[in-house]
Symmetry: C2
Subunit: 110 residues, 2 copies
Amino acid sequence: MDATRLRYDEHGLIPAIVQQHDTGEVLMMAWMSVATVRESIATGETVFWSRSRDERWHKGATSGNTQKIVTMTADCDADVLLVRVDQQGSGACHTGARTCFHDDLETDDA
Amino acid sequence: MDATRLRYDEHGLIPAIVQQHDTGEVLMMAWMSVATVRESIATGETVFWSRSRDERWHKGATSGNTQKIVTMTADCDADVLLVRVDQQGSGACHTGARTCFHDDLETDDA
């Protein structure tokens, strides 16, 4: 499986789930283009495509909170990536938290 | 956080990452509409919106491989869900595998 065999959406992007390789924590989800998939593979650090800023985004380039890639795995229909990393610095979230997932839905009272 | 406060994309969908709650395995990623988020919360089992079939999809309804929801958590900008589940049956993947993620990219040779 290489970058060109992945299935990108109508915007040329694929979702990338980022997981801490040893603890299993899901840290964040962001989007990659074919170019940033290739750059991630080539550099060993996560590089995304920011949909809000419409630009390449090397995670941690300014904060130091980079993500060292351990493995990148596509799902069964090749339209989602799971990127196992070693998160550097304080964490993945722009709020300073370790993970972006901290807002529980009230599953007993919808 | 309730279902209506989430941010859905231009198709009215939000990505839902499904993780086995105790092992940390990422099992699959699929999409939910506001209605299937609500139905997942109300029933305690994952219900998605199938983009390929353009219809509601109660995971495991025919195979028995349902997913019992433990927690549902939104990310910091409320446009991705992390659903921690207890996967029933043989696994999450339509191939019969435990997880949908089994196609490693060759990260040393892009």
